[in-house]
């Protein structure tokens, strides 16, 4: 079957051959396979989290379809008649009753519910880890800025999908979560109350919200996610994959495996591995026992009421916010008798706004500060971009402080400390945590870079002490091989770009700010080892001598 044979003259001999030739001459599959199958993907474990996210999304679609067959998103009132004894005869919504039926009276239903919920947790977790990998390795730089933005949109959609799903069973926990969202909406100045009435179709909780969230959860949000995934993957193909620095790897090539057959087989197998992991977790670990929480009723709130982990940081920010600060109140009545509830509005919207705002704009911020508009296909090792790594860690620390605050009550009970003290400490960390995180991370990165430099110039310390014939003791340093050397020297270290005057000879205010930021980011830097330095280090005799000594050592044994 030579490729040059024209489709009209080629006559397949077997039945399978005839069928495949029929299909191929009509849809041109072979050219797609030829083109796409030869795409090369570099191999590194940290590149696989995007795949995990994609696979968990597929699991979500599959298990979610099963759930829609039995779930009834109605808020009509009913009395439970299913087989769970502690809720027999209790008044509840049809949505909650059908979720209970799914859990106790439909074969495999509980497993599917747990599979769906666990893969949702893993979905958002793998999206987050994937984004952290992309951020810390600088994979968002030109030409991939737009794909980074698509990824950020996907994260927000993932949160939306998670939250709308969390609110569907109409149990106590989901109702408490919705009540908080209702509070946040109502805290929006002027339009808040009207907006809340619009969303809930009247006063909270109303009888409409579960049905509305259901449409969002099974139709709108997944469709948007699918669209974004398509764009995301298309751009990955267009841009080609990034790779870590290494011998033979340049900005103009991609070193790795072609999609077909090795990579395709691995990726396909990996899908089943991920499915297996999630299924094993779903079969063994209980998640969201809605029967424990009971039907939603606006009066009870259970202790330990938390959202799923990915909404935790908003809940934590709300918990950290003081209602009054000394004599200053965060809640007052403005004109027209409207109440401005800054004690809700600030923590609910500001931290999330800052986090997502910085996340969306970071590629442009970095490009503006560094004045680096070149294409980058070789990734940075995180230590080689101390400013970015430190900024990222500061963001992670900030997020984690809020995240931890969402479990402040459990921290208090499980570590036997005062809940109030936990809150005070976390409030302090909310402000100083990111600063400490930034400074410590930057110092660690610089120290690691200096260590790399040291190793490149003088080799690895082996810990073996050798006595020379004239009595001198030296430690044997083992020079690195070419491969390892390459990894340590092949990086860029941006230098300070001072503010420069524009065409009119004036330094604008933004340019001044840029110059300051550039100095702040890059005044401490460790330059990569130049070939000249390497040459000098080796020629003044260290390495050859040491190599000879090593040899001598070996032969005398």
């Amino acid at each position: 079957m030579s490729a040059s044979t024209s489709p009209d003259t080629y006559q397949p001999k077997t039945r399978v051959g005839r069928i495949s030739n029929f299909v191929d001459t009509r849809v041109g599959a072979s050219s797609i396979v030829k083109e796409f199958g030869r795409k090369v993907f570099p191999d590194h474990w940290s590149f696989m989290f995007g795949e995990v996210a994609l696979y968990t999304f597929v699991i979500l679609l599959l298990s979610g379809t099963f759930l829609t067959l039995f779930f009834d998103p109605s808020m009509a009132e009913t009395h439970y008649t299913g087989s769970y004894v502690p809720l027999k005869g209790v008044e509840m919504s049809v949505a909650y009753a059908s979720t209970l039926d799914l859990s106790f009276d439909i074969r495999g239903g509980l497993f599917m519910r747990q599979l769906h919920h666990w893969s949702a947790l893993l979905f958002v977790a793998s999206v987050s880890v994937h984004m952290l990998r992309v951020f810390f390795t600088g994979a968002f730089r030109r030409p991939r800025e737009l794909n980074w933005v698509v990824g950020c949109v996907l994260l927000i959609l993932a949160l939306a999908a998670g939250f709308t799903g969390y609110s569907l069973p109409d149990d106590l926990l989901s109702g408490n979560g919705l009540r908080i969202i209702d509070g946040v909406i109502k805290a929006i100045p002027l339009i808040g109350t009207y907006l809340s009435m619009l969303i809930f179709g009247g006063e909270f909780p109303g009888t409409a919200i579960v049905g509305r969230l259901y449409v969002m959860h099974i139709l709108v949000v997944p469709a948007l996610i699918l669209l974004m995934i398509a764009i995301h993957l298309f751009m990955v193909v267009v841009h080609k994959h990034t790779q870590y620095p290494g011998p033979g790897r340049t900005e103009n090539n991609v070193v790795g495996f072609p999609v077909g057959p090795v990579y395709a087989a691995k990726a396909g197998g990996f899908f089943f591995i991920v499915f297996g992991i999630v299924a094993a977790i779903a079969a063994n670990f209980q998640i969201l026992p809605i029967w424990d929480y009971g039907p939603y009723d606006p009066s009870p709130v259970s202790a330990g009421t938390q959202p799923d982990w990915y909404i935790g940081f908003v809940d934590g920010a709300l918990r950290l916010m003081p209602g009054v600060l000394g004599d200053f109140r965060f809640e007052y009545v403005i004109f027209g008798g409207y109440t401005l509830s800054l004690n809700v509005l600030l923590p609910a919207l500001v931290p999330a706004g800052i986090l997502f705002g910085l996340m969306f704009t970071w590629p442009w911020i970095e490009r503006w500060v560094t004045k680096d508009n070149r294409e980058h296909h070789i990734l940075d090792r995180p230590r080689n971009a101390p400013f970015r790594t430190a900024t990222g860690v500061a963001g992670v620390v900030w997020y984690c402080v809020m995240w931890a605050a969402a479990s402040s009550d459990l921290i208090a009970t499980h570590f036997h400390v005062s809940l109030n003290d936990v809150t005070y400490w976390l409030r302090a960390l909310f402000f100083i945590g990111p600063i400490i995180g930034f400074m410590v991370t930057r110092r660690i990165c610089l120290a690691l870079q200096r260590k790399d430099r040291e190793i490149v110039l003088h080799g690895r310390e082996t810990g073996r002490i050798v006595r020379l014939p004239h009595g001198e003791f030296i430690e044997v340093h083992e020079p690195l091989n070419e491969y390892k050397l390459h990894r340590l020297v092949d990086f860029e270290s941006p230098v300070v770009q001072p503010a420069v005057p524009d065409a009119n000879g004036r330094i604008t205010r933004t340019e001044k700010l840029r110059g300051r930021l550039s100095r702040f980011f890059f005044e401490d830097r460790v330059a990569p080892v130049t070939p000249a330095e390497l040459e000098a280090a080796h020629s003044h005799g260290h390495a050859p001598v040491e190599a000879a000594e090593t040899k001598a050592e070996v032969t005398t044994r």
Binding site: D43, H44, W45, S46, F47, M48, V52, V85, P86, L87, G89, V90, F104, L110, Q114, L121, L122, A125, S126, V129, L172, L173, G246, G256, F257, G269, F270, V274, I277, I281, N284, F285, Q286, I287, L288, P289, D292, Y293, G294, D297, P300, S302, A303, G304, T305, Q306, P307, D308, W309, G312, S407, D409, L410, A412, T413, H416, V417, S418, L419, N420
Partner: protein, 270 residues
Amino acid sequence: MKALSQKRRHPLAAIALLLMGLLVTGGLYAVAGTVNEAQAATTTYSAQDIEEGEKLFVANCATCHGIGAVGAPEGAHGNQAGPSLIGVGAAAVDFQVGTGRMPMQMTGPQAQQKPAQFTEEQTTQLAAYVASLGAGPEIPSEEILDASKGNPAEGGELFRVNCAMCHNAAAAGGALTRGKFAPTLSGVSEEHIYEAMVTGPQNMPVFNDANITPEGKRDIIAFLKTIEAQGSPGGFALGSLGPVSEGLLIWTAGLGVVIAFTIWLTQRSS
């Protein structure tokens, strides 16, 4: 009727109305009060029990609660080593001593549960002594503690409305302010659950019989015993702590296993 309406502007009418209002309120209060005490003083203890109990009390409890259980003198900031126990009733003693919370091991935000320090007989003697000092909630009867006679569904509703905000919807416990906490209710005996409701130990409010009827309390016990017996239908319950332990599992074990597989899959190349 006409005669009454003609006198409605009489100077004494307001006073008469006020008196009537006070009488009705007071009468209702008195009735409610006797409802609460309806359980009291149904059991009698022997004089010997009371005598033995007093000896035990003087030896083990009087340091903080004072001779005659009148309570320790108040300190400068109104704090007190031990409160007066007159009128707390036998149920309070049976709960506090029976769960090991008293005698207190150390001062702190809250008395901690520990192995009981007295035998059942000694606990009964102590209860007899304290009950002899003033009327209070009695140790509940077997009849009202029988979980099989309760309705777990009704109890679940009562539990979610009255108890879950501190003890967690799955009765796993929760945090209160300044190091205080509501303990887990799993493994707590029927008797102690009931006594805790009627006496309000530590930071717990009292749920008297007008608030939750004895039958309602039995329903709550039935609910707690049902969920305790059924275990967790979906697998390991992860402490019944809700989304926090679930998130912790997916970020540690879940992602950890995934990462192990990614490393395995990408091994032996470049």
